[in-house]
């Protein structure tokens, strides 16, 4: 057990004791370290002005991710290297990410610029990027001045500039030396942060502290602190539990550990269900996808979380553990009511079990929001249709944004089963959705729009499986089986 948080800030080893567990990296950088290049724009992970790079030792090197410092609690940085905009220029020479921004006139007011520079810096690690990759890497950074064109140009141009020499030997050695496998346990101001390292330890801790806040990414929990000023008491962090971030092929299904981030899951999901990959690509910005987890998205129980409808449609199961006792339930049964889940006190989500597509099945998932990237669904619809000689043998239609929980459309499903997969059946199922859902009006959409779109998404699913027409705006080639 260790009571001090250790990480590298640039090249400087930082050791912190008595740190308040919910101090954000942003506040610490600005207030304690006077690294004021990192800015607060929203304190909710939606604008990217606070973007920094966090590196972890991977395969003999350090792998960096862009994250939002505003919702990142300090103890979660234990064992990492944090780079801010102040770390990039060396001996008066700008990094290509910075020089390209200057050359392309990529800054106007300059306030969002350090965040963009950090996202670009992380992108630069992978070499030249496709326009698509650039858009994804920058989706979590808002700029109100430039209209983005010069920044996107800079993202291309930086790859053409000479790359600066880089030697991370010392930093890597330090991080490796720090990797002691110990449980981090820090307390201050009546709050405690524990980062267990094994699954058993994690489950035992959770069982012993049924009121603890399970932190798995923190892209929502962070806002409880920055917006609602909530005190979290005991926080149990999943980010250091060995194996909890693993995706395992279990033959007929994938086992997705509860701490697997969106970024980690995206390709694996896309390989099985192309639309699920696309859906995950549109969750938050890159910074949020690097921190947020599928397990957290499910366990949180939000009615507008984007992964549950797709997972439910695909027939996913949920693995829960209370102490050493494990149970598996169909995912849709987890969501009991608005913000109420079938999770016993002290019980934790340990994995999502995602079946592989059955032969003859068609899977589609669609997210509808005001903005394509980094928005929350007004309606999310996901459909799995099992066909047998053109007749629907089974149908799983799941929606988000239509009720207090992610929910299957039982009436519409019943209409489809046993009927030919044709327009008449689909039209009848669309009408039946009115019995399944009574959506509400809010800032994202009116009830009438939600109802109309929910039906139209089912229609689109039928159109896409029945005809080869241009039907999507996302600009992505989504290949379906």
């Amino acid at each position: 057990m260790r009571n001090e948080v250790r990480f590298l800030l640039g090249d400087e080893p930082v050791t912190l004791t008595g740190v308040d567990p919910t101090t954000t990296l942003l506040d610490w950088l600005r207030d304690q370290r006077r690294r004021t290049g990192t800015k607060e724009g929203c304190a909710e992970g939606d604008c990217g002005a606070c973007t920094v790079a966090v590196g972890k030792p991977v395969d003999g090197g350090i792998e960096y991710e862009a994250v939002n410092a505003c919702i990142r609690f300090l103890p979660t940085l234990d064992g990492t290297r944090v780079l801010t905009v102040e770390d990039l220029a060396k001996d008066g020479t700008l990094h290509p990410a910075q020089q390209a921004m200057v050359d392309c006139h990529g800054s106007q007011c300059g306030f969002c610029t350090p965040g963009f520079v950090m996202s670009l810096w992380v992108l630069h690690q992978d070499g030249p990027a496709s326009p698509q990759r650039v858009d994804d890497a920058l989706a979590g950074n808002l700029c109100r001045c430039t209209g983005y064109r010069p920044i996107a140009d800079a993202a291309q141009k930086m790859a053409e500039l000479p790359a600066p020499p880089r030697d991370e030997t010392a930093a890597l050695a330090r991080l490796q030396a720090w990797a002691d496998g110990q449980t981090l346990d820090v307390s201050a101001n009546g709050q405690r942060f524990v980062a267990p390292t094994t699954l058993d330890e994690f489950c035992d801790l959770a069982a012993a502290h049924p009121d603890a806040c399970i932190l798995s990414g923190g892209t929502d929990v962070g806002l409880w602190v920055t917006k609602q000023l909530k005190r979290l008491g005991t926080v149990i962090y999943t980010g250091k539990v060995a194996g909890l971030d693993a995706i395992t092929d279990a033959g007929d299904h994938l086992r997705i550990g509860a701490a697997v981030t969106y970024t980690q899951a995206q390709d694996a999901l896309a390989a099985l269900y192309p639309d699920m990959g696309e859906l995950v690509r549109r969750i938050g910005g890159q910074q949020v996808r690097n921190m947020g987890t599928i397990g957290g998205n499910v366990a949180n129980g939000s009615p507008i979380g984007d992964t549950p409808p797709a997972l439910i449609a695909a027939g996913a199961g949920l693995e829960l553990r209370l102490g050493r006792g494990v149970r598996v339930i169909p995912l849709e049964r987890f969501f009991l009511d608005y913000r109420k889940q079938d999770r016993w006190p002290g019980e934790v989500v340990t994995a999502i079990l995602l079946p592989k597509p059955a032969p003859g099945s068609q899977f589609r998932a669609y997210k509808v929001s005001k903005r394509f990237d980094q928005d929350i669904s007004a309606v999310c619809g996901a459909f799995s249709i099992q066909l047998d000689g053109g007749v629907v043998r089974a149908a799983r239609l799941a929606y988000g944004g239509m009720a207090g929980v992610p929910k299957r459309a039982a009436n519409a499903e019943a209409v489809l089963v046993g009927r030919p997969w044709d327009e008449a059946a689909v039209r009848d199922a669309m009408a039946a959705l009115a019995q399944d859902f009574t959506p509400m009006s809010d800032m994202r959409a009116s009830a009438a729009y939600r109802a109309k779109v929910a039906a139209n998404l089912l229609y689109r699913c039928w159109l896409e499986t029945a005809a080869a027409l241009p039907m999507r705006l996302t600009g992505r080639e989504v290949a379906h089986a």
Binding site: D46, F111, A139, N141, A152, R460
Partner: protein
């Protein structure tokens, strides 16, 4: 029209694409914003306590728990204001710093917590117990109209000819209403102010504001001090867009009050949610129109009623609704016209300046009228636009100013129509749509003609202060503020050009009311027009003194003294480095500091009569947008945008292109995804980026061709014949709304006007599609 002669041998600095003066400091994080300034010892942090009701009497305000919260030093209410509890910008006394017995919007400040830490201030602010007695709340335009249409500022009417009878006798007429939403500024840097108390009542403030002089005035008024005791400084803002023209007053006044009462420095930086709930936004409008036209689509008469949600106080709603009327013609000559404004009082945030300042709303109404005419006659809307453009013999605006820039407008539209291949693409799109049942494409070309000058004539003045030091370095101040637009860079280019020195020798200093007094807001796109001229005036004064000195010293004619490339050539007698001449001049006791001043000529305006020349000139432009919509969900993509925009002779083409592109995307956001949503209790529910959606990187047009118009220097004698650029490009985005409309109309074979209101969210697009399908 005279173009400028270039001095032989002088490196041209103006008209060159120089990078922003802070570009390197931006990318390294070194650029300091107000919250980045090293905090003085003993700094106090503030948080505002906000009304939870839209309209209510405050029966009691129990602050006990707030005061006793650990770390709280003081709690300030209306009773603590030593001067006048008012922060209104136009002296209408309708905007208290703290509400006392009456609250008029959810989010109105009731008190301020002063604490040792920002966290303590925020926590304590939530502990107030307020007893309210609710009063009827009027939240939007229809409700305000129904309740008797109380206004926050006297309406204005513009009238030319007899519009009523022109419409009556016209072969065709249409009546309708267009609704357009407001817009949150969403400057990335939220409002912020830090106040440092000095001796004898003096107060120094660092504020993120476009209008330091007004902040100075408001603070002095609030504290009951002479203006001379208050100094306001701003080096840069992290975006403003009009949202820091008057809205900074509240934050600066609160910080100053706390500093004044405690004797300690104090800072107020609201979080994003508080900022959005507290501050005013772009006005939403509902415009009723009636228009009469002939068979060729020529508009013979037009009548408009511009109703705006002003919010609870006047703020700038008067001038903003005025400017909406000034642009109800956009680029078109109406045979006869009658237009009236209504700045309606509502129990919501007091709406305020936002890039375009009412102009965008005027133009959206004008373009809706064009759409009505086009669909009524089955014409291409572009042909209706061209049939109504200002031109020779049809060049008088509704406010009786003669449009002299009509030739620029015509040139832009012709060039853009041809270069963008508008006609052929339109035909292709129609054909493509026939074969695509779900996705539909649309295209539109819309022009912009925007009047340049503050309509309050007095504001069209500027000052500068220029010091030259003995090493030849130049320290320059002017009244304008830097919010990202590149004003400092442009003014430095002007001064360096004038003195024949390198740009690196000119340092633009933080805007400070002690350096240049009585300034106007950096607004109305006027920054470089006004301050560029004032700074040049100062530089010319210095240059004249140096010229006279050198001519006398070396016995040559003043005309033979040339400043270029960092050197001064004194006829054949001497060739000195600029710094060498400076040292000689200093030794000879030549004054090396000068002020500069400028006031815009030719302009005058009589609001009551609705006549005059409010604008020095017009800045013009046009854009073609092409979109694809999804008729199952209403989602859309902007596939391609072509822009041709008029900035006269650009002072800096790189910065100007930046303004055009950035303005366009911001305007696109206003008309598409940016939706402000209040609930039935008057609470703004879109108060952070998770719910309020400005364009993201991938929303920019897939193909984005932006050009500045060549060969048309400003016909007026502006700074190096350039034109203002800040606001006009925002309105180029109206072509996106009309491209969406064109796509929507395709579902009914373009037989019915789509009448798509703004913001055209996916929901509005889908609902318009459904309505038109019903008519088809």
């Amino acid at each position: 029209m005279r173009d400028e002669p270039k001095l032989p041998g002088n490196t041209t600095l103006v008209h060159e694409p120089r990078p922003h003066d802070s570009a390197i400091r931006h990318v390294t994080g070194e650029a300091l914003y107000v919250d980045d300034i090293r905090e003085p010892a003993g700094l106090l942090h503030l948080c505002l306590g906000l009304s939870e009701r839209a309209h209510a009497r405050v029966l009691s305000l129990d602050l006990t728990a707030v005061r006793t919260h650990p770390g709280v030093v003081a709690v300030l209410t209306a009773a603590d204001v030593p001067g006048v509890n008012d922060i209104s910008c136009m002296g209408r006394m309708d905007e208290p710093l703290f509400a006392d017995t009456l609250v008029e919007h959810v989010g109105q400040p009731l008190f301020a917590v002063v604490a040792e830490t920002r966290d303590a201030a925020r926590r304590a602010a939530r502990l107030a117990r307020v007893a309210y007695e609710d009063l009827p709340a009027i939240l939007d335009i229809p409700a305000a109209k129904q309740a008797g249409a109380a206004v926050v500022f006297p309406p204005m009417t513009l009238s030319r000819g007899d519009a009523a009878s022109a419409i009556e006798t016209a072969p065709h007429s249409v009546t309708g209403t267009v609704v357009m939403g407001g817009q949150e500024h969403f400057y990335l840097e939220s409002q912020v102010a830090m106040a440092l108390p000095g001796e004898g009542g003096e107060m120094m403030l660092h504020v993120s504001t476009q209008h330091p002089s007004e902040v100075q005035h408001v603070v002095a008024h609030l504290l009951g001090l002479p203006t001379a005791l208050v100094t306001v400084e701003v080096r840069r803002m992290g975006g403003a867009f009009g949202g820091k023209e008057t809205q900074a007053n509240l934050f600066a006044a609160t910080a100053a009050l706390a500093a004044h009462l405690t004797g300690r420095p104090a800072k107020l930086r609201p979080d994003r949610d508080d900022d959005m709930v507290l501050t005013g936004k772009r006005h939403d409008f509902q415009v009723d129109y009636r228009v009469g036209f002939d068979g060729q689509g020529r508009i013979l008469g037009a009548d408009f009623l511009f109703a705006a949600r002003a919010g609870y106080a006047a703020d700038l709603s008067g001038p903003i609704t005025d400017r909406a009327l000034f642009h109800c013609d956009n680029a078109y000559s109406y045979g006869a016209v009658h237009a009236t404004s209504l700045a309606l009082k509502t129990h919501t945030q007091s709406n305020t300046a936002f890039r375009g300042f009412g102009g965008p709303q005027g133009m959206v109404a004008a373009e809706r009228v064009v759409e009505e005419v086009a669909y009524s006659l089955g014409l291409d809307p572009l042909d209706v636009r061209k049939a109504n453009l200002y031109g020779p013999g049809r060049n008088v605006t509704p406010y009786h100013q003669v449009v002299e820039d009509w030739d620029v407008l015509a040139a832009i539209i012709d060039q853009l129509e041809s270069e963008s291949d508008y006609r052929a693409r339109r035909a292709d799109i129609r054909a493509w749509n026939q074969a695509s049942p779900v996705l539909k494409r649309g295209i539109a070309l819309t022009p912009v003609k925007f009047g340049i000058s503050f309509t309050n004539t007095a504001y069209n003045q500027a000052g500068a202060l220029l010091h030259v030091y003995r090493d030849g370095s130049v320290h320059l101040n002017h009244g304008g503020t830097e919010m990202g637009q590149g004003l400092f860079t442009k003014v430095a280019q002007v001064v360096a050009q004038e003195l024949g020195i390198g740009l690196d020798r000119v340092r633009l200093m933080a805007t400070n009311t002690a350096k240049v007094p009585n300034t106007s807001a950096t607004a109305a796109s006027s920054g470089s027009d006004l301050n560029g001229m004032a700074a040049r005036d100062a530089a010319q004064t210095i240059k004249a003194r140096l010229t006279a000195f050198a001519a006398e010293k070396y016995g040559v004619d003043g005309a033979d003294v040339r400043f270029a490339d960092g050197r001064v050539r004194v006829g054949a007698a001497a060739d000195l480095a600029f710094a060498e001449l400076l040292e000689l001049a200093y030794q000879a006791r030549v004054q090396l500091s000068a002020t500069g001043f400028y006031k815009t000529p030719k302009i005058h305006w009589d609001r009551k009569a609705g006549r005059g020349r409010p604008f020095y000139y017009f800045a013009c432009g046009a854009s073609v947008s092409e979109v694809t919509i999804d008729t199952l969900t209403g989602e859309y993509r902007v596939d391609r945008v072509d822009i041709l925009h008029d900035v006269g002779r650009s002072l800096n083409p790189a910065l100007d292109i930046g303004q055009v592109e950035g303005g366009f995307v911001q305007g696109m956001g206003w008309l598409t995804t940016e939706e402000l949503w209040w609930d039935a209790a008057g609470r703004l529910r879109t108060h952070s980026p998770s719910t309020y959606k400005i364009p993201a990187c991938s929303d920019r047009p897939r193909i984005f061709n932006v050009k500045l118009l060549d060969g048309h220097p400003n016909r007026e004698e502006t700074i190096h014949r350039s034109k203002a650029v800040g606001e006009p490009p925002l309105m180029l985005a109206i072509s996106v709304l009309h491209a969406l409309s064109d796509a929507v109309a395709s579902v009914a074979d373009h037989r019915h006007p789509p009448r798509l209101d703004a913001p055209a969210t996916p929901e509005r697009v889908l609902m318009a599609v459904e309505r038109l399908k019903g008519l088809a």
